[in-house]
Symmetry: C2
Subunit: 324 residues, 2 copies
DNA sequence: GGTTGGAATGAAACCGGTTGCACAACCGGT
DNA sequence: ACCGGTTGTGCAACCGGTTTCATTCCAACC
């Protein structure tokens, strides 16, 4: 296995020069750079990341914390983040936990010694827990906002408000909202948005909390029917799926007898003409978050540039016309 | 940040002794070990993994290659593998690709310099591609067998054969199999098993290939109905979901008018009494595979112990009675 | 009582890069 | 011809551990 020493020797320069030629070519004369690069190629040199990490203080590893892999909401985010990380030569490792228990925090702390930064999708962790964790190492929050920390979120709340208003405008007088985990930040935002839209104009039944599974959608069906709602807003793709199945099983046509909003993917998959859909671009979320994280990591410490605790919001389009 | 030097100084021993006390206590007197451990605790010492990796030749990182995160088949596997890796103090990174294109192989090779081993779930890659890759670094195949390489697979083929026989025994004379990706190893096995069970006893319609999505289940519905099959075997949970929805949409009750086999999770979620289900324990798959991998990694090189290219098969139970 | 062998420990090399500092060569300006 | 200032390069220290080898000490053995 070729090392930097071999390359340097082959190129007839010192190890230091070889190193610079490879990692900061501007410091070395063009001719020398060419020679070193050539030797590296000939010898099949691949820099040892571990050594580089030890010397350079960077591990080349970033982590993303997600509460679960089972929820299809997170997988595109991971894909986008990984793609963006790879573009910068970084590896992405995935830690699966909610950052909301002492054990989770311990895992986070341990991992934080071994990565350059974190992407944190922790909808359930309390602010007081997430903040200190994220503040101690370059981090970007995903789909969650905490004052003083950078974040990238999908503006689902606005989309949900729009859905509610749309339903009302179309004559519905009783709508139901199937809510997610109790302490989820996004869930709180969404409920607020839907409530604001409904206030004084229509009956709103808020159901939940339900985990984001097909099974809970099926379970929720009973409560929906009982509520008398004619339009349903659900917070997760899997739940919509379960709802639709459950309603069908009771002989109710969707969206004929009762309208269920769903993710774009579900509407497209089931070919649900007439159901409104929302579309969260998870990949873009992941990419942008990773981009922000890399900026933070690369920023010289105390550079006094921008603290960049901005909360980016990605628009979430709502589609009312059927998909063709 | 406390380093080994600090600990050694605090404990009044040399760095070498401190290192040994922490990583191989049997080489040091019990009294000294206690003193070092105490100092480490007092100083809040956390060993630097990077340095340890550089000196020890191990990165403490293992990777799992999966073709996609969207298919719910892989997520429990990842969870199990990660759990098992964590138990050995290893980190798991996830590489998402099929190991079936030049770019994928390049990614694999690059990553292989930075991890201690691979878990490979590459159903589609050709033997001639996967073999050399896996042979060059400690690896364990998941849900795929190649002669000469260790593997852990779910014995889905047997379960599928059993399903086919069960349907036939129950009087079905025309069954359909909804197949997965064309070149998938498991798919080939499953088709063979189903065909063997059906041979001469019943009409078998093999459909596909279909990607493992709800949408393709819906799409497949037309072909199912056309085939006249009264029982359907589908290879993925998402497809079953789509099938059931699609059949319902056409006014066919499941499992009343037509029986669809599905994963345990789907049957449970939709409360499908009377439909047979199979249950793949993905977590166990991941755990066992990781266990095997760690054994390989820890085995001294050329130890001449067991080459251990065994192909482990995990049983996949088939359930015919409804779930209560 | 002198020799032998094992246990406990320390000094220093080593893993493979990065980087601060010193130095030489070369630049245009006066 | 002399000088301050780049530019290009090499030496050696350094990152934080692990491991080889030598050394010391002491109990056991002939």
């Amino acid at each position: 296995m070729a090392t930097l020493d071999h390359v340097a020797q082959h190129a007839g320069v010192s190890k230091a020069t070889a190193s610079r030629a490879l990692s900061r070519p501007s410091l070395v004369s063009p001719a020398t750079v060419a020679r070193v690069l050539d030797s590296a190629r000939v010898l099949g040199f691949v820099p040892n990341r571990t050594a580089r990490a030890l010397a350079g203080g960077r591990t080349g590893l970033v982590a993303i914390v997600v509460p679960t892999l089972e929820n299809s909401f997170f997988t595109p985010i991971i894909r986008g983040a990984q793609e963006q990380a790879a573009a910068s030569g970084l590896h992405l490792t995935i830690a699966v936990h909610g950052l909301d228990s002492p054990a989770d925090i311990a895992a986070f702390d341990t991992l934080s010694r071994q990565v350059d930064g974190f992407l944190i999708a922790a909808p359930r962790g309390a602010d007081e827990v997430v903040y200190p964790a994220a503040a101690g190492i370059p981090s970007v929050l995903i789909d969650r906002e905490i004052a003083g920390l950078p974040s990238v979120s999908a503006d689902t709340a606005t989309a949900f408000g729009e859905l509610a208003r749309g339903f009302i405008d179309r004559g519905h007088t009783s709508i139901a909202f199937v809510g997610g985990p109790d302490r989820s930040w996004q869930n709180t935002q969404r409920i607020a948005a839907v409530q604001a839209a409904a206030a004084g104009r229509c009956t709103l039944t808020v159901l939940g909390p339900y985990p984001a599974t097909v099974a809970s959608g099926v379970t929720a069906t009973a409560a929906i029917v009982e509520s008398g709602a004619t339009a349903v807003i659900s917070y997760a793709a899997a739940i919509s799926l379960g709802l639709i199945f459950g309603l069908n099983a009771r002989g109710l046509a969707v969206p004929g007898d009762i309208i269920v909003s769903a993710d774009d993917s579900v509407v497209a998959a089931l070919n649900l003409r007439g159901a409104p859909s929302i579309e969260v671009d998870g990949e873009e979320l992941g990419r942008q978050a990773m981009h922000r994280l890399i900026e933070r990591i690369d920023a010289p410490p105390h550079s006094g540039v921008l603290p960049d605790a901005a909360a980016t919001k990605l628009p979430v389009p709502v589609r009312w016309s059927p998909i063709d």
